[in-house]
């Protein structure tokens, strides 16, 4: 488990990092927390021409910024920092909750939010939350900066629309609905999810719910939105019948994989049950807060 040989480079700015990516014509890889990249190098599943270590770019990429209604998280922000950040606790509680389901403490001390989005694991918690909250992925490449909606960014298992010479600099969140809930089930504590669910919505005083978005992890080769289910609940009262219908409608957007963690059939069986329970729990919570 020793990597094939590679060049190791440690740029001093994002501009230099991007120039280096360009220089290697797409064969170089960014090294952030290394929690996914290093094992892949060791197993020789990846043989990059160069490894570009961005860990020295904390100034440019390591900040959590709240500006107006927007919250921007730098690509190099570690899971542990996000987990304990008061800004995230206040503005993006769903993200804070979801991150606690990632790996173990050591992994969260090293792993970064930018790395998680770049990795695009179909069960990744950060990708699921970014999709559910309609976040924007901030990207820099030889051609300048780009902003990519999370919805559409994840295009397959470990695949996204990032160009080989581009890098992620951060992820930006807008205003989020007032209520959220998160659920995850894995084969062992904080393992990659068999099923993960993220729900956000805003209840109105007339008893109806709005801005409903439901994200599902482990139910497809990318995190996906349960659009049909969300539609059923949008502007509706969340009575038992509505919740039951929505829970079943979620299956329309699911095409669960079959792997060592669970069969497709079992994942499909779990989805409506756990989504139904998650929604019921959210509906039952007191209206304020």
């Amino acid at each position: 488990m020793k990597p094939a040989s590679f060049e190791y480079l440690r740029p001093e700015s994002v501009a230099e990092a991007v120039a280096t990516l360009d220089l290697y014509g797409g064969t170089a890889r960014i090294l952030a927390g290394g929690q996914s990249l290093v094992p892949m190098l060791g197993m020789r599943l990846m043989r990059p021409g160069a490894v570009i270590d961005i860990n020295g770019l904390g100034e440019e990429l390591g900040r959590i910024e709240a500006r107006g209604s927007e919250t921007t998280i730098g690509a190099l922000v570690r899971y542990s920092e996000a987990e304990t950040s008061p800004v995230i606790a206040e503005r993006l509680p769903l993200l804070g909750t979801a991150i606690r389901h990632i790996g173990d403490r050591q992994v969260r001390n090293r792993g970064t939010l930018g790395g998680a989005i770049a990795q695009s694991d179909p069960t990744g918690e950060v990708a699921l939350v970014a999709l559910t909250l309609g976040a924007t992925v901030l990207v820099t490449g030889p051609g300048g900066e780009r902003e990519l909606a999370a919805d559409g960014f994840f295009v397959g298992s470990y695949a996204n629309t990032l160009g080989p010479e581009e890098m992620i600099t951060g992820v930006r969140f807008g205003v989020v609905p007032s209520r959220s809930a998160f659920f995850e089930r894995g084969r062992k504590h904080n393992d990659f999810a068999v099923l993960s669910l993220a729900v956000v919505a805003t209840p109105e005083s007339d008893g109806t719910w709005h801005d409903v978005r439901i994200g599902m992890g482990g139910m497809n080769d990318t995190p996906v939105l349960a659009r049909a289910a969300a539609e059923r609940l949008e502007g509706a009262r969340w009575d038992e019948a509505a919740l039951a219908e929505a829970a079943t409608l979620a299956l329309r957007d699911a095409d669960p994989p079959e792997d060592v963690r669970a069969s497709a059939e079992y994942r499909a069986h779990l989805l409506p049950i756990h989504l139904g329970r998650l929604l019921a729990g959210l509906a039952k919570e007191p209206r304020h807060g």
Binding site: S5, P39, R187, K188, H189, V260, Y266, L270
Partner: protein, 794 residues
């Protein structure tokens, strides 16, 4: 409730939780593991492995690899077959044909991961680059990975040169006429139980550093192993050396669990390279290799039946089981102890058990903590619960009715095992009381307020610890004995050096041996220094496995300590002019009981003996004793466990709310060490019961989850809280009344949890017949029961 303590306690170190001798160095980062050994100018080895479950090697082209800068040597199977002997099997399958195997495959490969080429280079990186540059043409051959499918008439025969089918051997044993008794029994329950294949997964993988000094004709092999003296024998045989030319040193070993028993191909290869190159060669297994090249365990199918009278009395048990050997032998081969304990702690006169061993195209199977006992326990104990449901009886009461009473021991079971002593029912009562079984039963199964069903599961077991005798082993063709050997040597600081071939891999043997030595001799525990695992310095012994170390080792330490003490007192008696009977060892000195002013320090006595000055006229110089001890019989540890489980009947998800184990390991030398052993083994038991399973895809024959990413070994966060209770009934067949304890915890989790889940879901008629018990498995069992799933009870 506290267990009845049937032994009186001397004050002193024996029986107390003294801190482990091993911990000072390990906690300070001063342990010395094989990978820490760095001889000057070391080279590094990498191994190329067969990617197919079964294949014929058509050609190997090593030219490019051999020419790479930094590459020193490439070996292939042709070289190895010419220049080494096949690796010997320590514990052959009784009645089996020999399946000799070499360290590298010559023409035929029989499992994915089998070593095919080895390369030595300046660094591991370069060696791995070179392995990639070796071009091997394989012709994939028809393979079979499923245990029972391998025994079907249409299965490809994996060793056609030596076998006509894939059935390596079958070993039947019986007492009475179980078939006839079953025919006449009022009720018979039976089923087929599938036990998943697991990896023992020590934290330290295997490792070797080999050095050869041709002028001295000495091969020094640092090997992470449980049996240094046996590895020495195997290395000498395979390398065509005299044993005197081979020295094996273990240092600290980071876990063994049965996996590190005996010689593996890579260790032999490193030695062969070192001898050719006259340079030190190091190989440390990585985790990817470990999952394919270190032995697996447990996989078996048990066809178990229990017959009973209408009043619940067990009348017969049978178990026809098939274990999976993998593609070829390992040092120990597949588990053999299901046979010996198949009837468990119950009063069963008529019984028949047959072990069949199937060869499949998978990684070879070896010993693993429990060695057949957890497997058969699942089968027997889940069937007892089904029998209880059939008869409308409480499973707890049914067990109490059939457990052997303390006054019925010693008892010879249907497989010939002699259970020495114990109070089996007491452990069962203790766990029932601990969980307040009566109250739980009265509360009903649910669903409770949280919508979940609650169930209770019990299991009772015996555990064979140690070996019956060298004779017992000889009848089975084993190439080792049943004894342990210890040398004690006085030193000039007033301490004792204790030399043992039992290597140190987490079982606390250094501490336990020193405790016994201190107890018998009277010297301070801290003045004893244990030197373990170097064949150049320690007496020839057997090794650490089968929960046997203390059973045999305590006798050897006792005898040697007694001899050393006797001579020390005789010398002191001469110097102090008192009778030996008047003397005792206290605080590092020999002191007169009647006149405490008459004392001489151990340091002075040791010096006198070592230089031969100031000795009584008839005493020889020197103060050293070696003792060999073989226990008269194996000792049977035992216990009972209870699990309380809450089950979600919609999803199959469940939670273990309580798990209580009461066990007896005989006289306890160190309670802290015993608790550590039991908890560690329980963790492995929960892993095999709940999450761990190596899965092979039948079409491709590939191991699909051979990484830490996809193999679900539990972490501390995954384990349920465990409550431990002990009794302490001394064994009459061992020194001090000890029983082994290393494997106990692996046995009960599967059965207790399966029974608890089925109890919770009794109204659905759910049955569990395999491990691991995943939520998905429970969901499928619920669904099958709901569909009126055909019951296989006969």
């Amino acid at each position: 409730m506290s267990g009845s303590v049937a032994t009186e306690r001397r004050t002193g170190v024996l029986g107390s939780s003294v801190p482990r001798k091993e911990d000072d160095r390990l906690l300070q980062g001063d342990g010395r593991f094989t990978d820490d050994v760095e001889p000057a100018r070391s080279l590094h080895m990498a191994v190329g492995r067969c990617p197919f479950p079964r294949a014929r090697i058509e050609s190997i082209d090593v030219e490019a690899a051999a020419a790479m800068p930094g590459v020193h040597q490439v070996l292939t199977g042709v070289d190895i077959v010419a220049r080494t002997e096949p690796i010997g099997v320590l514990r052959p399958v009784p009645g089996a044909v020999q399946l000799p195997f070499y360290a590298l495959a010559e023409e035929f490969c029989v499992f994915e991961g089998q070593p095919v080429v080895s390369v030595v280079a300046d660094s591991r990186q370069i060696a791995e680059d070179a392995v990639e540059a070796i071009w091997i043409d394989y012709e994939p051959l028809a393979h079979v990975t499923d245990t029972l499918a391998a025994l079907e008439p249409d299965a490809p025969v994996i060793h056609p040169d030596r076998m006509e089918s894939n059935l390596l051997a079958s070993n039947p044993q019986h007492r009475g006429d179980a078939e006839a008794v079953l025919r006449d029994a009022d009720v018979v329950v039976g089923d087929s139980f599938q036990i998943g294949r697991v990896a023992p997964l020590p934290m330290e993988p295997r490792a070797v550093v080999a050095e050869w000094r041709p002028g001295a004709r000495e091969l020094t092999a640092h090997v992470a192993t449980q049996v240094p003296h046996l590895v020495r024998m195997q290395l000498a045989e395979s390398l065509r050396l005299d044993e005197g030319e081979v020295r094996v040193i273990t240092g600290d070993v980071g876990g063994g669990f049965g996996l590190k028993l005996g010689l593996y191909p890579e260790e032999l290869l490193a030695c062969r390279h070192a001898m050719d190159l006259r340079r030190a060669v190091k190989w440390v297994e990585d985790r990817l290799e470990h999952f394919r090249a270190s032995t697996h365990a447990r996989e078996s199918v048990h066809e178990f039946r229990i017959g009973a009278d209408a009043d619940g009395t067990f009348v017969a048990m049978t178990d026809l089981y098939t274990t999976d050997l993998g593609g070829q032998n390992s040092g120990f081969g597949s588990a053999q102890l299901s046979s010996i304990v198949f009837t468990g702690p119950y009063r069963v006169e008529d019984g028949a058990v047959e072990r069949r061993v199937a060869v499949t195209n998978k990684t070879p199977v070896g010993a693993y903590r429990g060695y057949g006992q957890p497997e058969v326990n699942l089968a027997r104990e889940t069937l007892i619960d089904r029998l209880a449901r059939r008869l409308g009886r409480d499973p707890y009461e049914l067990r109490l009715q059939n457990l052997l009473g303390a006054d019925e021991l010693p008892w010879r079971n249907a497989a010939g095992a002699l259970y020495d002593s114990g109070d089996y029912a007491q452990c069962l009562r203790m766990v029932a009381e601990a969980i307040d079984y009566e109250r739980l039963r009265a509360a009903g199964r649910g669903p409770g307020e949280d919508g979940r069903y609650r169930g209770v599961g019990f299991t009772c077991f015996v555990e064979r610890t140690g070996y019956a005798s060298a004779k017992f082993l000889a009848n089975r063709g084993s190439r080792y004995g049943a004894h342990e050997s210890v040398t004690l040597r006085a030193n000039r600081s007033g301490g004792i050096d204790l030399y043992t071939g039992v290597s140190t891999f987490g079982q606390s043997n250094e501490t336990a041996f020193a405790q016994i030595c201190a107890e018998v001799h009277g010297i301070d525990f801290d003045a004893i220094r244990v030197h373990a695992g170097d064949t150049g310095a320690t007496p020839l012994n057997t090794g650490a496995f089968a929960s046997r170390t203390l059973i045999a080792g305590s006798g050897a330490v006792r005898e040697a300590a007694q001899e050393l003490r006797d001579k020390t007192l005789r010398i002191a008696a001469g110097q102090l002019s008192v009778e030996v009977e008047d003397l005792e060892v206290v605080d590092g000195a020999v002191v007169s009981r009647t006149d405490p002013d008459k004392r001489v320090t151990l340091a002075d006595l040791h010096r006198a003996a070592i230089i031969g000055q100031g000795l009584p006229a008839d005493e020889q110089p020197g103060l050293e004793a070696t003792a060999h001890f073989e226990p008269t019989d194996a000792a049977y540890a035992y216990g009972s466990a209870a699990a309380v489980v809450a089950v979600d009947a919609e999803t199959g998800e469940f939670e273990i709310e309580r798990f209580v184990l009461a066990h007896d390991s005989g006289r306890i030398v160190n309670p802290g060490a015993v608790e550590g052993q039991v908890r560690g083994a329980l963790a492995q038991g929960f892993g095999a019961a709940l999450t761990e399973e190596l899965r092979y895809e039948p079409q491709s024959g590939q191991l699909v989850n051979g990484t830490m990413l996809d193999y679900f070994v539990p972490t501390a966060s995954d384990l349920p809280a465990v409550e431990l209770l002990h009794t302490e009934v001394p064994s009459p067949v061992t020194p001090f009344g000890v029983r082994g304890v290393g494997e106990t915890g692996t046995i009960p989790p599967g059965a207790a949890i399966a029974n608890a889940i089925c109890d919770a879901l009794a109204e659905y008629g759910v049955e569990i017949s395999s491990l691991p018990i995943t939520p998905e498995l429970v969901w499928r069992a619920i669904r099958k029961a709901g569909n009126g799933g055909e019951s296989r009870e006969g």
